[in-house]
Each structure stands twice: as structure tokens, then as C-alpha cells.
């Protein structure tokens, strides 16, 4: 069941088209990743979905409601975690959560109970009375996520949830995202950490220059990106003679030496391991490992967008600082 449906959505700023007639949908209960380089239109799209920007044209349907005309009803069932931790500096963690809950009309006892629950869930119960400004970056991020889910939203929009925080906090946040999703919350995630998207998302949409150029299941993306089957052998020796002998015996394969002990064998056909094991054995070569190499989502991203990952991360980290 589609919980978010976007049709021909466009947004222009004067003559500049930031988002160009994009189409995609998000299934209820899934983690949907929205990836793209800086300036691709990710934030503009999120802003349109959450009510911070008005589309120039197109249609948004969220949980069966018009995402433009009925945005105030939609905001009742969505939670938003912006790319910056934007809670109130002077207020304590507990006060911030209670205040955010009151914006959704939660009664005093209910919102205080929920705030305590979330502080415990996010391991912030010891620091709940400290002002937000005294929190570390990781703690601020966790509290901002807690504020986003205080009213138990059906859909949670997470914009770069782990950027600029320590490894431990990032891991905790990824775990929390999984737990939330397991409990049925639909997650709309933007991140520039491709491995994070690979680990968390079921489906991914790629946006480049304001256009959604691909929306697909993560496994399908990997399969499509795999141009040939590759097996990497870890062996005790490599040599030119061994390579030539391999090519003589298996003329349909390609060979790539990865290191002094690693060689990758590629083929358009499925690779049977036994003939290679027998070959190495007959030639006195000992094998310690054989593994199938699949393309990473990072490679898929580079193939689809043409953007180098390092450049993307440096841009984002720089922006955060």
C-alpha cells in the first residue's frame, strides 16, 4: 500500500527549476532512501512533502490525504527530523520533548510519560534535565529524533540523521531507525552515507539535477549493476605463468590481480567453483578463501549519478561544520 505518492511534482525558484516533474511512491512500513548529491533537490522535495514549501505543480498524496491542501492534517501523522538539530537551546531535553508533544495536542500526563520513555529509549535519561545547549552533537541528534517521534507518527522524515556525529551515536541511531521501522513506522531517509542507505533501506530513489532518475529495490539495483559474475580467490601465490595457464584452460573468463594473494575471475556466465579449485590444486596452488564479489550500492550510486562518493561526503561534512 502506497503511503506517499508523488506525481509530476515540480518546484521552481524564479526561473530556476529545483525539482522537475518527479514521480515516486513510498510503501507503508518500508524504509525509503532518497539519495543524491548536493543541490539535487532532496531538501526541496522533503520541504514540499512536509509543508515547508509549496509545489509549483504536481500532486502529493500522503496517507490518502492531499499533501498540499490538507497539509495540517498530514502534519498530524508525520514526524520530521531536519538535517540540523533545531531544538531550543535554553530548554532541557525533557522540556523540549514535552513542548514538542504539546504542539500535537498531547495531554500533560501523556506527554510527560512519553518524554520520559523516549529519554530512556535514547539513553538520555541521565541528561534529561540538562539544557539542550550543553548536549554533545550525538546527544543533540538523538534528542531531535526523539522530538520527531514524540507523537508516534506514521511516517518519519529523516534528513541526514547521522551526519557529523560520533560512530557510537551513529550506530545507536541506525539501531533506533530499525526498531522504529520494525514497529511499523514508515521511514523516508536522506543520507550521503551510502552504506547506511544500503544497510537500512528496502528501496532507494536517486535524484540528480532535480530529476528522479531511478527508484528501485536495493537488491534489484545491485543485480542490475552487476555486469558480470565475479569470484575472488585468496591463494598463496600469483604469477604471470599462472594467469596464462588459467586463460588457456578457461578462455571465457577475465582475470584481474587484486594483490599478491588475491585474484578476481570474471565471467558473463555463472562461475562454477569446482573446476577452478581442481585447477589450482593440480598446479600446487593452495586456496584459503573463495568469495563472490557483488557491486556495492556505492558503485551503483556512482554508475547511476556519475558523482564520486568522496566528493559527495566531503561536500556534506564541510556543510555541517
Amino acid at each position: 500500500m502506497k503511503i506517499i505518492n508523488v506525481k509530476n511534482l515540480s518546484k521552481s525558484f524564479g526561473d530556476f527549476p529545483a525539482v522537475k516533474e518527479i514521480n515516486f511512491s513510498v510503501e507503508k512500513g518500508e524504509v525509503f532512501g532518497f539519495l543524491g548529491p548536493n543541490g539535487a533537490g532532496k531538501t526541496t522535495t522533503i520541504n514540499m512533502l512536509t509543508g515547508l514549501a509549496r509545489p509549483t505543480s504536481g500532486k502529493i498524496t500522503i496517507s490518502g490525504q492531499d499533501g498540499v491542501k490538507d497539509i495540517k492534517k498530514v502534519q498530524q501523522i508525520i514526524g520530521i527530523v531536519p538535517d540540523e538539530s533545531n531544538l531550543y537551546e535554553e530548554m532541557s531535553g525533557f522540556e523540549n520533548l514535552v513542548f514538542c508533544a504539546s504542539l500535537y495536542g498531547m495531554k500533560k500526563e501523556h506527554r510527560e510519560k512519553r518524554a520520559r520513555e523516549l529519554l530512556a529509549q535514547f539513553a538520555l535519561d541521565d541528561t534529561g534535565n540538562r539544557p539542550f545547549k550543553a548536549y554533545s552533537k550525538g546527544m543533540k541528534r538523538k534528542l531531535t529524533i526523539a522530538a520527531g517521534i514524540i507523537h508516534k507518527p506514521e511516517i518519519l522524515f529523516l534528513d541526514e540523521p547521522t551526519t557529523g556525529i560520533d560512530v557510537k551515536s551513529a550506530r545507536q541511531i541506525r539501531e533506533l531507525i530499525k526498531v522504529l521501522n520494525d514497529k511499523g513506522t514508515t521511514i523516508f531517509l536522506t543520507t550521503h552515507y551510502i552504506e547506511e542507505a544500503e544497510r537500512l533501506c528496502r528501496r532507494i530513489g536517486f535524484i540528480v539535477n532535480g530529476k528522479v532518475i531511478k527508484v528501485s529495490n536495493v537488491n534489484d539495483l545491485m543485480r542490475e549493476a552487476q555486469q558480470e559474475n565475479v569470484v575472488e580467490f585468496t591463494i598463496d601465490q600469483t604469477s604471470a605463468a599462472l594467469k596464462n595457464s588459467l586463460l588457456d584452460n578457461f578462455p571465457e573468463i577475465t582475470i584481474k590481480k587484486v594483490s599478491d594473494h588475491n585474484v578476481r575471475i570474471g565471467s558473463a556466465e555463472k562461475i562454477e567453483l569446482m573446476p577452478f579449485m581442481n585447477f589450482f590444486d593440480a598446479n600446487g596452488v593452495k586456496i584459503s578463501e573463495a568469495k563472490i564479489i557483488r557491486p556495492s550500492l556505492e558503485e551503483v550510486f556512482v554508475q547511476i549519478t556519475g558523482i564520486e562518493i568522496n566528493k559527495l561526503q566531503i561536500e556534506k561534512e564541510g556543510k555541517k561544520k
Partner: protein, 244 residues
Amino acid sequence: MKKRLAFWSILLKDMKTYYIKPPNISWGIVFPISWTLMFFIRSAGEVDVRGILPGVMALSILFGTTSMLAVTITFERKKRSFERLLLAPISLNLLMLAKTTGAIVFGIINAFVPVLFASFMIDLSGINWVSTFISVVLIAVTSTFLGLFIAVSVSEVFEAQTFSNFFRFPMIFLCGLFIPIEKLPVMVRPLSYVLPLTYGADMLKFSVNNNGFIPLWASLLALVGYSIGLFLISTHNIQKRWIY
């Protein structure tokens, strides 16, 4: 019920975070004392405290409300915490009323600080307190919405303060607070009638000293009109500039 809860929460949060702070409390006391002292110094000890009271009250409201709006709105906008409010399931009108009610209350309290000081110096009998209170409320509402208009027109706190002065200082001299409008140069007088504080100050003069010259109903209508107009323009600007 839900809307009322959100309204009170925003108002109480602003009160706690911004208004009930020692610098603001001291400012509310220091400002009217400074103005009163200024007149004492100017008049070499002979000052008509009751005569200047409406002016000091009006200026206390004007400066108090416009300064606070620059902080509660422009500062939150800069810090992006204002986005949190825009993304909440409450209407923009309710949100802005919640954000401005704190400033209105602050303005009303500020207005009565000089009255308290004056009560130690002069006899305050004969003042129409009901009319005075209504005048103070109307000036506070109009000034707050003027502050709102300024706050949503700029992006930095210092810009808000500078832009506020563009309105505030001409008002001191053109609204008949200390210089009667009829004594102003003829060329300047039309400007006086464009400024909302002219009507508020005149209402206060009527209420405190019974010496205003604009009919009360006309001042009341003008202030209500300015309030509605400034509020509508401000919310329209927010829709246009912040929900882009």
C-alpha cells in the same frame, strides 16, 4: 482543545525562555525611568509628570514589544527552531497569535511601570482607568504586530533592530507624544496621521489628561484597522517567504 493546548504551550515557552529573564525585567524598569529622567534634566527640575506620562507609557510599549519580537521570531527563525512550529499541525494564524501574545502582555506590563513610578510623585486621581487600559492594550497589540511585520521582513536580529528604529524614532517626534501635532510643520503633519502610535497616544492623552484631539472612536477604529492590516500582511509575508 488541541489547538488551545498548542497555543498556551507556545506562549508559556516564550514567556519562560524570553520574557521572564532578568535583562528584560530590568529593561522594562530602566527604560521608563530613563525617559522620565530625561524630561527632568531637560526641564531643570520642573517637569509635568502627568503631562508626559502618556508619552512615556506609549514609548515603553512600543520599544518593549518591537524589541522582543525581533528576538522571539527573527532569532528562532535564524536558529531554525521556528521551522518546528511551522511544521506543527496548527494554523499559521494561531501560531502567530501565540508568538505575539507574549509580546502584547510584555507591552502591557511595561506600560504600567511608569504609572507605578508616577504614583509616588503625583496624584493620579481623575484618570479614566478603563479607557487607559483599553488604550494600552490597543497600543500593545498594534506595536506588537508592527514588530511582527518588521521581524518577518528581515533575516537577522540586528536587521530587525535597525529596521525597527526606522519606525520607532520618527514616531517619538511625529506622534504627538511630546510635541503636539498642531505644533509640527504643516508639511510633516500628514505623516503623523499615517503612524499608528498617533492614535494610541491620543487615546492615552484622553484617558490620562483628557486632552486628546482625535475622537476616541476614530482612534479606536484606526488602531484596530492597523492591527488587522499588519497581522494579515505579516502572515501573508510568512506564507510567501518562509513557506516558499
